[in-house]
């Protein structure tokens, strides 16, 4: 634990235990999303599914990076993730992104994906609001994750025909342009 780092956050007026609860739940949501997006990606088949598969993979690996980036901050603040993975997964801050009833229906896949991203945006917006101006490190990390979640939502929303996202997909899956600087374990991308 980074003792003084935690004290400074407390001194700024943040209930650190409440913040840790939110961070652990967010980390759980990222971890479970990584699992569920694996299912969604492998089921994105056929002509329609093939293009979708690539952006699901981009989002999937970036969500895994979000988990990786959150864990050290949790421990820095004196928190921990649960010993039991089942307890951890039950804490996820968002609903599970289950494979839809008809996985061959690309629209159903997209609706699951876009709703998952929207929930993530709400989660990280809450954490940013809580930490802005008070816990600078957590704020920067949460804002970086929020940037990527917003892009994920925009991609899926565009596929649903809701309008242009203004984005182009990543150069490589899991690139994490905003979060990569927080990763303890390098993502393996070349500079």
């Amino acid at each position: 634990m980074a003792r003084v780092a935690r004290e400074m956050v407390e001194k700024a007026g943040i209930n650190v235990d409440e913040l840790l609860d939110k961070l652990v739940r967010a980390a759980s949501a990222e971890f479970t999303t990584y699992y569920y997006y694996t299912l969604l990606r492998v089921n994105a088949i056929g002509l329609d599914g093939e293009g979708l598969k690539e952006i699901i993979e981009d989002a999937r690996l970036e969500d895994r990076n979000h988990f990786e980036a959150l864990v050290p901050r949790i421990y820095e603040l004196g928190g921990a993730i649960p010993r039991d993975i089942r307890e951890f997964s039950d804490m996820a801050a968002c609903a599970d992104a289950y494979l839809p009833a008809d996985p061959k229906d690309v629209n159903q896949l997209l609706n699951v994906l876009v709703e998952a991203e929207r929930c993530a945006i709400r989660v990280y917006s809450e954490i940013c609001n809580m930490t802005f101006g008070k816990d600078h490190r957590t704020y920067e990390l949460s804002a970086a994750i929020l940037h990527e979640e917003i892009e994920h939502e925009a991609w899926f929303s565009e596929f649903l025909g809701e309008g242009p996202s203004g984005h182009f997909r990543r150069g490589a899956p899991g690139e994490s342009p905003y979060v990569s600087r927080f990763l303890v374990v390098p993502s393996g991308r070349h500079a």
Binding site: R25, D90, A92, A93, C94, A95, D96, A97, Y98, L99, P100, A101, N111, V112, E115, C119, R122, V123, E126
Partner: protein, 121 residues
């Protein structure tokens, strides 16, 4: 049941009416009263975000329509036909009539049916 100023605009506050948990929500001029525990894992809805006619559970961000108590998210994407066990998680919340009178909030809750005690009756 409670003073009107205990529930500010955009607030969701949990009360006990008898043994029944009830969350009272104020959204602008409107007051709503719903069952106070989320159907997902039975966690209290107090402090949930209130926005665009919805109450969001602060724990796992399930969303409920304030007027009807119906689950909006994730019910719209849950594969209930193939995983019917998920229906329990997205059950609608019971709603109650609520009003503000003379600076107090009143919620209409039907008293529970009397149960016979096992011994002596």
């Amino acid at each position: 049941m409670a003073r009107a100023d205990e529930v500010p605009d955009g607030g969701a506050k949990l009360f006990r009416v008898g043994r029944r948990p009830v969350v009272v929500v104020r959204a602008g001029r409107d007051l709503y009263a719903l069952h106070g525990l989320c159907s997902h894992q039975g966690r209290p809805l107090e402090g949930g975000a209130v926005w665009k006619g919805m109450l969001e559970c602060p724990w796992h961000h399930f969303q409920y329509d304030l007027a009807t108590g119906e689950n909006v998210y994730p019910k719209r994407v849950y594969p209930l036909q193939v995983q019917p066990q998920l229906r329990r998680q997205v059950r609608s919340l019971r709603t109650y009539p609520v009003r503000e009178r003379d600076g107090y909030i009143e919620v209409g809750v039907r008293p529970p049916a009397r149960t016979l005690e096992r011994r002596g009756h």
